[in-house]
Amino acid sequence: MTKLIYERSSPGRRASSLPRHDLLAVDVPGELARERPPRLPEVAEPELVRHFTELSTRNFGIDTGFYPLGSCTMKHNPRVNERAVGIPGFRDLHPLQEEEGAQGALELMWRLQEILAEVSGLPGVSLQPAAGSQGELTGLMLFRAYFADRGELEQRREIVIPDTAHGTNPASVTMAGFELVGVQTDPRGNVDVDDLRGKVGAQTAGLMLTNPSTLGLFDENIEEIERIFHGAGALMYYDGANLNAVCGISRPGDMGFDVVHINLHKTFSQPHGGGGPGGGPIAVAAALEPFLPLPAVVRRDDGSFGLDFDRPKSIGKVRGFTGPFGVFVRSYAYIRAYGPGLREMSEAAVLNANYLLARLRDGYDLPFDRLCMHEFVLSARTLKKEHGVSALDVAKRLMDYGFHPPTIYFPLVVPEALMIEPTETEPKERLDEFCEAMLAIVREAAEDPDVVHGAPHTRPVGRLDEVKAARRAVVRYGFEEHPDLADEPAAAVAPQGA
């Protein structure tokens, strides 16, 4: 057990030192003044550094090893991008600096916009959204604004979403005030076009689609789908989470999408930071450009760069300032390192995935027998039926082999799903080692299922009791009153989604 930093604290210790001046202190009016100080940690710097160093060694990142977490595009994070983001001219730049004092930053954003327009095949870009989910919501706000502008908002209430969609898609629909209409997946893993036809009409605001889908499959009927939606006067939203498969190979704009978000932290290698930050710029068709968030980053006629607030039809702001600039620096750097070679990046991602698929297809069930794009979904259904070894068990056992597990139990349409995304930055040796581990687990399932059920055996903790966690909801340290949960009865371990 690693102590909490609060448990390492001792009254009176501190790491900080601060300037003090010989100035008159200002009194805070009584009822506004802090009565009892917050119980922040009290440690000197040596133990501060040790604490977080120790915690870091209890965590697995891409730097530690292979991290094939499907849908999350866990590619290498080049260190030069970290150097870039630390340059004082970027790091210490205030967002309200006058335009003349921020030309370099504005130019970088403008260039990134141009690049994203080219990669997506859509002309209008806003970098503002903070992540893919916010990109989705912003996109749906644009749908609202567009239809409101046309007087169709009352009528167009529905957004169609396939059953393979990521959970953010339906959640965004609700937050944008639309209603959800589901559509099924056909036996080849495409959107079921017959089902779709019956669901699209004058009430439809649009579609949200990930292509390639969360199954890692490119929808073969995308042109037909486009005809259906645009034919009904509806719009199409592209969830760009899987753009890593198709850079320079197929562009959302060319597929007919009207709005796309791009997860900079996936395709363009923003370090995931244990959960974030991300970036979710959107690119849109010309008809939607007037509605983009405020302000727009523009190049003026004199060649200088600036912020344009004069966009009367804009939906407004979706976050502070102009978006997560540090994320832009890293992604811009990443892209400039590839240039037009982004195509080779996607090719390698797809090659790596297909190689894994080819080596693993005999050990696991393959729900859709096709070549995949940058990721693919296997199922542990047979393992479960025959040996009682579930996708969760496989995931936990992989840890003992030194791998981060893939995404499991998603997409929902595949039972016992294992969603595997190697990314392009993995060398073949790592892929081979992973395959050997995956296939060894298949053998273990037959020969020694207990070792799989009991996994992981080599991590700092065993499988954790998630039911207990949710039931007790101990979500902060309680100091003297902190409960000891080891005293409490165990609850069954529930499978978890990702």
Binding site: F90, A131, F325, A470
Partner: protein, 446 residues
């Protein structure tokens, strides 16, 4: 430059294993009509040294606060970020990990989030915090979403002294949420509790800021009481750096506390990435957006941490989720935790006192230089507004030509304040720098 690891020999072997003869074949499922023809029209690849040179050239065209003496604030502040923050954030195990879906692989991140949640709860006087929101604006929208569902009401009340960007974001979200937004104007720099009481009738919540956008201390307990009297949720937007000297919202009746975390641990970085925080009383735990980490044990009774209460979230609850947030701002929140741990309670108090004393000192010097306080009767924290006697944007421009950025021109957001400047003074500023500001304002002011 390219980060690919495959050699030609690897490629051949892999294609053979797949059973295709070219990479092209792997894309057979993409209909001809939507294939991209040719090469992307992007500038040629840069090698690493060229890339760094290019980025340094861009960066050199930005006037940053290590080069220009600056009193800009208005939501993002030039507080000192201790070096330990960098050191921790550059640990690859934190930097290159994602959301801790697999807790046994991710105890490090999970524990830091739990510690972060604790720090935020301690700062704000609340029971529960999530793992972070995008920034100080979107957490306000989150609070409205909670309030709407908790009260079943659809009006939200915003103090006009709430950061304009926060108000703008709430207004952008409002139509989708089905919310009506009402604003309460300020009176002499702060919000009148009676006016707020009138507006908050039938509302889901009222959001005010402490210290407010003008740097003034609001009568926060009275504002919270007004909301509570109407059975609306009182939501305080607070500056974490102030909470060593200012009372915690949880201690004066707020249901929810939100804020922008930047000042605690994040560089300014032209506005992001930073983190927003949101914390609430336990009544609202199950309505909270985003990730929450909870404590539990393994089968052997060993303590461990997991993502918990996930039935709130989009990947389980889909269209019924409390939010669509997935990727959040964990790394920046970790920076916040490290910064707050570096400060400790005593350091936090000292930063607050130093900012306040320096700002008050600046107020005096500026008044002497002809820039009178805009709201002379109000107590301010680290920021205050002055009248410069002419268009403040012009003053900014002329002061910058003298090497000083004197602050934010309030006319950009408030009608009638074209001659007002919002001046921020952090603990990094020195009395000598403040004197320089006064000199420059004396030169370029009215």
């Amino acid at each position: 430059m390219s980060h690919l690891s495959l050699t030609d020999a690897d490629r051949e072997e892999m294609l053979a294993a797949i059973g295709v003869s070219s990479i092209e074949e792997l894309f057979a499922d993409i209909p001809e009509g939507v294939r991209f023809q040719g090469r992307l029209d992007l500038e040629p690849a840069l090698s690493e040294p060229e890339l760094v040179a290019h980025l340094e050239e861009l960066a050199a065209r930005n006037a940053h606060t290590a080069g220009e003496l600056s009193f800009l604030g208005a939501g993002v502040y030039d507080h000192y970020v201790p070096a330990v923050v960098d050191a921790v954030l550059q640990r690859g195990e934190f930097l290159t990990a994602y959301t801790p879906y697999q807790p046994e692989m991710s105890q490090g991140v999970l524990q830091t989030i739990f510690e972060y949640q604790t720090a935020i709860c301690e700062l704000t006087g609340m029971d529960v915090s999530n793992a972070s929101g995008y920034d100080g604006t979107t957490v306000a929208a989150d609070a409205c979403f909670i309030a709407k569902h908790a009260t079943g009401r659809s009006k939200v009340v915003l103090a006009e002294t709430l950061n304009p960007q926060v108000r703008q974001v709430v207004k952008t979200y409002a139509p989708g949420f089905g919310l009506e937004v009402v604003e309460v104007p300020h009176r002499g720099g702060t919000t009148d509790p009676d006016e707020l009481a009138a507006a908050v009738e039938d509302a889901a919540c009222a959001i005010f800021q402490q210290p407010n956008f003008f740097g003034c201390l609001e009568p926060a307990p009275d504002l919270a009481a007004a909301a509570n009297d109407a059975d609306a949720l009182a939501v305080a937007h607070v500056d974490p750096v102030s909470l060593g000297v200012l009372e915690a919202p949880g201690n004066y009746g707020c249901a929810i506390a939100i804020g922008e975390g930047q000042g605690a641990g994040n560089f300014q970085s032209f506005g992001g990435p930073h983190y927003g925080f949101i914390a609430a009383r336990s009544d609202y735990t199950r309505r909270m957006p985003g990730r929450i980490v909870g404590e539990t044990t393994d089968a052997a009774g060993k303590r461990g941490y997991v993502l918990t209460l996930q039935t709130r979230e989009q990947h389980i609850r889909r269209e019924k989720a409390t939010s669509n947030i997935t990727t959040n701002q964990t790394l920046l929140a970790l920076a916040g935790l490290v910064h707050l741990s570096w400060l400790g309670p005593q350091g936090l108090k000292e930063v607050g006192e130093t900012c306040m004393a320096l700002a008050e000192h600046a107020k005096g010097l500026l008044a002497a230089a002809g820039a009178e306080p805009l709201f002379p009767d109000r107590t301010t924290f680290k920021e205050f507004a002055v009248r410069v006697g002419r268009n403040a944007r012009e003053v900014v421009r002329e002061a910058r030509a003298r090497g000083v950025h004197p602050g934010y021109a309030l006319g950009r957001d408030y009608e009638g304040l074209d001659d007002a400047l919002l001046v921020a003074v952090t603990e990094k500023r020195t009395p000598a720098e403040i004197r320089r500001l006064a000199e420059v304002l004396a030169e370029v002011g009215s």
